[in-house]
Structure formats: structure tokens, C-alpha cells
């Protein structure tokens, strides 16, 4: 009797232990479940639909019917045989490269300048950068519209006064190159603060003793810079560059609003605008879905470096 009772308690205790272990193991899953469920519904399901729609003829009629007509890979075929797609792709790559290059070079140089200046200048410049960083994109576009308008924009006035040339009533939005150049000035201006402040944070992690030791050893300052400073900030520069590439490749708001919807045409399309015009505006959702998939694949390929690096950070910590 006594033994039996003892065994039962033992057994039930063990069972409750297992249960507790299982319950404890289930806790993290219970914690992530809401996010997974919501993301599955609002993003997973749409992406599944995206693949389905890309294989359909799907226009306004099909949108109302909630059902497309299966046409296989025809959407992809027509996009890939469209000269506009390839021109837009090349233009977007060149545009993104120019923006990223300028942002990274200026952003890094200003960060290096922050190390050199007196404390009050550093404070002033940082405050200015943070203010610029906080400007909403649509607000910045409207300010650019005002500053660069041909009739009495302050840009033309300043350039003329500085004797850069005669820019009296110069219109900056006549050719695709000059339109996109204005977009670039806007994007680079807005993106510099994030790069500068991040690189400066990395620079302040360079051990001072290391620099001093190198200087005592008689190393020249640029040698110190190359051997001590550069290795410390390289990982940060890599991450910032890949992030900038992704952002600038997919940018929509600034070019769409600054060039202005009536002036958007096949000659100044960027990838996201091409997709917007040919998929959404012309209500050809099947074709738009095919363009979306091509764009997402390109971006995914570009982001592999960044994502892998971030995952490594996520795993270690």
C-alpha cells in the first residue's frame, strides 16, 4: 500500500515535472505566436496572392470579380521583352549608385570633420544634422519645390549671385538627367545625417591610446588613419552602404513628388515608379505583380550581405 502510494506520488510528480518542462518550452512559441499570426495574415497571404496574380490576367474587371484568368508566364514574358523595363532597371541602378556614393562620401567626410572641430562647432553641426534628419520626406519635397522653382527659386538666385553662371529663371526640370539630379540632391541631403552620426559614433569607439601609441612610434597621421581608424569603421560603413543601396533602389516618394506626376514618363521612370504606373495606375495588376516579383528578387539578392551580417549579430547576442 505504502509503496504503491509512494510510486503514485512519485509518478505524478514526475509527470507534472514533464508537463512543466513542456509548458516552459512552449513559452517562447506562445510569445512569438501573435506576431507570426498577424504577419502571416497581412503580409504572408498578400505575398502568396502576389505570386498567384502574377500568373493571371488581372485588371479592374478581375479585381471586382476577385478572380483572375490564368495565363501562365505571359506577364513575365511581356515585362522582360519590354525595353522600358531594362532601361528603367539600368537607370535605377545608376541613380542608386550615384546617391549611395555621394551619401557615403559626404556622410563619412563630415563625420571625420566632427572629430577635428571644437566642441561648440561639433554641437552646432550635430544639432543641425539631427534637425535635417527629422524632416518628413513630403515636407522636404515641398521645400525643394519652392527653392528650385524657375520663377523666383532661391537656388537660381544664389547660383547667379555666386557667378556660377546665369541661372535667371533656369528650369531644373526639363531633362530626365536634370530632374533626377535634383532628386539626388534632395535624397543625399536628407540621408547624410544618419550616415554621419552613425559613422561618428563608430569613430568615437576608436581607442585613443592606440592612436597615441602609433603617433609616438612616429607613424604619419594618414598611416594611423589607414591602420587604426579605417579597420574600426569598416563594418559600420559596409552596413550603411548596403542599407543605403536598398533604400535608394526602391525610393518612390521623392522622385514621384519632386518631378511631379504630370511630368513622369518612360524617360525618367525609376523602378518603383515604373511599377506604380504600369501596375496600379493603369490597373494592370497581373503585369504589376510580375514587375513586383522581379523587383523583390533583385532587392533580395542585394540584401543578402546585409541580412547575413545582421543574423550573425542576432545569433551571438
Amino acid at each position: 500500500m505504502a509503496t504503491a502510494a509512494g510510486t503514485t506520488t512519485e509518478w505524478s510528480r514526475r509527470r507534472s515535472l514533464t508537463w512543466r518542462a513542456v509548458a516552459r518550452g512552449a513559452v517562447p512559441y506562445a510569445l512569438v505566436a501573435p506576431v507570426v499570426a498577424v504577419m502571416g495574415a497581412i503580409l504572408g497571404y498578400p505575398i502568396y496572392s502576389l505570386v498567384r496574380i502574377s500568373l493571371d490576367r488581372y485588371g479592374l474587371f478581375e479585381l471586382i470579380q476577385h478572380k483572375g484568368v490564368y495565363i501562365g508566364l505571359k506577364n513575365f514574358g511581356s515585362v522582360l521583352h519590354d525595353g522600358v523595363f531594362w532601361h528603367t532597371l539600368v537607370r535605377t541602378i545608376v541613380f542608386a549608385a550615384a546617391n549611395v556614393g555621394l551619401t557615403m562620401v559626404f556622410g563619412t567626410l563630415i563625420a571625420l570633420l566632427l572629430v577635428k572641430v571644437s566642441a561648440w562647432v561639433r554641437l552646432l553641426l550635430t544639432a543641425g544634422l539631427v534637425l535635417v534628419w527629422s524632416m518628413p520626406p513630403v515636407v522636404a519635397v515641398q521645400v525643394w519645390n519652392w527653392m528650385t522653382n524657375s520663377e523666383n527659386g532661391v537656388l537660381n538666385y544664389i547660383l547667379t549671385e555666386l557667378h556660377v553662371g546665369n541661372y535667371f529663371q533656369h528650369n531644373w526640370y526639363t531633362t530626365p538627367f536634370s530632374q533626377l539630379s535634383m532628386v539626388t540632391t534632395l535624397i543625399v541631403w536628407a540621408a547624410i545625417p544618419f550616415v554621419t552620426i552613425t559613422v561618428y559614433a563608430a569613430l568615437s569607439q576608436v581607442p585613443r591610446e592606440l592612436i597615441e601609441a602609433a603617433e609616438i612610434d612616429g607613424a604619419r597621421s594618414w598611416r594611423v588613419f589607414l591602420d587604426v581608424t579605417v579597420p574600426v569603421i569598416t563594418p559600420v560603413l559596409l552596413i550603411l552602404t548596403s542599407l543605403s543601396i536598398l533604400w535608394d533602389f526602391g525610393v518612390f516618394t521623392q522622385p514621384y513628388l519632386l518631378i511631379g506626376q504630370p511630368h513622369i514618363n518612360t524617360g525618367n521612370y525609376l523602378m518603383s515608379i515604373y511599377l506604380f504606373e504600369q501596375g496600379y495606375v493603369s490597373a494592370n495588376f497581373g503585369r504589376g505583380a510580375a514587375i513586383s516579383i522581379l523587383m523583390l528578387v533583385i532587392v533580395a539578392a542585394m540584401s543578402v550581405v546585409y541580412v547575413r551580417r545582421m543574423i550573425r549579430i542576432g545569433e551571438v547576442t
Binding site: W146, F276, I311
Partner: protein, 277 residues
């Protein structure tokens, strides 16, 4: 020493010049908003509004739908941020305090989704929302904003939680608290600044968003303030730049205030991993 000082002076001059160039567009926006019309249209610009006027602000505020659209923006942003914070907080606890099978996949998705370009998702989100009659509703926009706010908040909150020393939590457990008790009494107060910073940043991102609000909301009475501002130029040949700059200033003010409050923390949160890696 003298050479060093003169070098520093030269760098200071460059620094101040850069400050002037960078800040100029913001200065020009605010300055224009306060100028009289004749100073705005003149070919020779007036640099400072010596006789400031509030007329442009009154004009901007009197434009149709400004307050309606501000209200829409506030509703969308508050609901988005509220839902995102609660759900993301739970997931961030799982990521920072537990090791579990599938954790790596979850991290890959959280980071990967943030890399997707918004434009690439226009078509699927529009079509799916149309299927459930959520086009031209605030709910539809909130759902779309959650696709971005959730992964961002999970990842950022995780970063803040890692900063909390495990010993503190363990000390509370030894005291006889349950894991939940430890969580409520120790973890929550410590993570509160992170929660505030993350929600403010999610707030700003949603407030600034343009493309989905533009696509999903067709009625002027249902738009957000960003879309309202983008239509401001209108089709008139003679643009009222004074009112446009006043409206831009008004749209930017809440963002600037919030941004200044949390910028330090978020800059840390975004780059902590990067610097450490």
C-alpha cells in the same frame, strides 16, 4: 601648438559653413512661412522676415480637410503603434530571453521583411485589401503600416532588452518571484525607455508614410496629412508658396519634436549591433 590651433580654426570654419548649407532648406521653409507675399514673390529674396506675419498659417489651417486629415493621421498612427508595441514586446521577450527551435528563421524573417521595398508591395496589398473591402478605410492603412511597424519594433525592442543585465532578473527570481513577477517588477521599468523610443520611431515612420496612404485612401476626408500636403500645390499656375511653407512647417513640427526626444536612443538602438559586430 600654433599650427594645430590654426588647423582647428580652419576646420571650424568648414564645420560652420556646412552647418549653414545643411540647415538652409529648413531655415528657408520657416522663414518663408512668416514672410509677406511681396517678399515671397520678389526676384531678390528677403533672407529674414523682419515684419513676420501669421497670415500663411491661418490660410493653411483654413484649407479644406486639414483638421480632418490630421485626425485621420493621428488615429492611424496611434492604433498602429499601440498594436505593434504590445505584439512586438512579447516577441522581443522571446528573442532576448529564450533559445528555441525556429529562432533563427524568425530573426531572418524579421530582418528580411524590413528590407522589402514598399513599392514592391503596392500590388499585392492593394489587391488583397480590395478583396476584403478595406480600400478607402483607415483599417486598411493600419494593416499595411503594421507590416512595417511590427518587424521594426520586434528588432529594436530586442536590442533594448539585451541591454538589461541577466543578473538583475535572476536576483528577482531568487527572491521567490515567479518569472512573470520578475518580468513585471524588474524588466518592465527597465525596458520602458526602450518602449517609448521604439513607439515614437514607429509613430514617425507611420506619420511620414506616403505611398500607401496615397493609394489606399481616395476620399479627401479620409486622407492622411502627408497626402494632404502632397496635393497642396494643386493645379493653380500661381502657387501660394507662403501657405505651402506654413503647411509644411505645421506638418513637420510634431515629427521634429518627437524625433529630438528619442534620436539619441534610436541612433544607439539602430547601430548598437552594427558597432558591436
Amino acid at each position: 601648438m600654433n599650427v594645430r590651433n590654426s588647423h582647428r580654426t580652419a576646420w571650424n570654419v568648414v564645420g560652420v559653413a556646412l552647418f549653414v548649407v545643411m540647415i538652409f532648406p529648413v531655415f528657408w521653409m520657416v522663414s518663408t512661412a512668416f514672410k509677406r507675399d511681396d517678399q515671397i514673390t520678389a526676384l531678390t529674396p528677403t533672407w529674414f522676415p523682419l515684419h513676420p506675419t501669421l497670415r500663411h498659417f491661418r490660410d493653411a489651417l483654413a484649407k479644406p480637410f486639414f483638421w480632418t486629415d490630421v485626425k485621420n493621421s493621428v488615429i492611424i498612427v496611434l492604433v498602429t503603434v499601440g498594436i505593434a508595441m504590445v505584439l512586438a514586446f512579447l516577441a522581443a521577450v522571446a528573442l532576448s530571453k529564450y533559445h528555441f527551435t525556429g529562432r533563427k528563421l524568425f530573426i531572418v524573417l524579421v530582418i528580411g521583411i524590413q528590407m522589402l521595398p514598399g513599392a514592391g508591395l503596392i500590388i499585392p496589398l492593394y489587391v488583397v485589401l480590395a478583396r476584403y473591402h478595406e480600400v478607402n478605410t483607415l483599417t486598411g492603412v493600419i494593416l499595411v503600416y503594421l507590416t512595417g511597424a511590427l518587424p521594426f519594433s520586434v528588432w529594436t525592442l530586442r536590442g533594448f532588452m539585451l541591454g538589461i543585465p541577466k543578473e538583475l532578473e535572476e536576483a528577482a527570481m531568487v527572491d521567490g518571484s515567479t518569472r512573470f513577477g520578475a518580468f513585471a517588477r524588474i524588466l518592465l521599468p527597465l525596458v520602458a525607455p526602450g518602449l517609448v523610443a521604439t513607439s515614437v520611431f514607429a509613430f514617425i515612420t507611420s506619420w511620414n508614410e506616403y505611398i500607401f496612404a496615397r493609394i489606399l485612401l481616395n476620399d479627401s476626408s479620409k486622407q492622411t496629412v502627408t497626402v494632404w500636403l502632397s496635393y497642396f500645390l494643386g493645379s493653380l499656375r500661381q502657387t501660394d508658396y507662403g501657405a505651402l511653407m506654413a503647411a509644411s512647417t505645421l506638418t513637420a513640427i510634431p515629427v521634429v519634436i518627437f524625433f529630438l526626444l528619442v534620436q539619441r536612443r534610436i541612433a544607439f538602438g539602430l547601430t548598437a549591433g552594427a558597432v558591436r559586430g
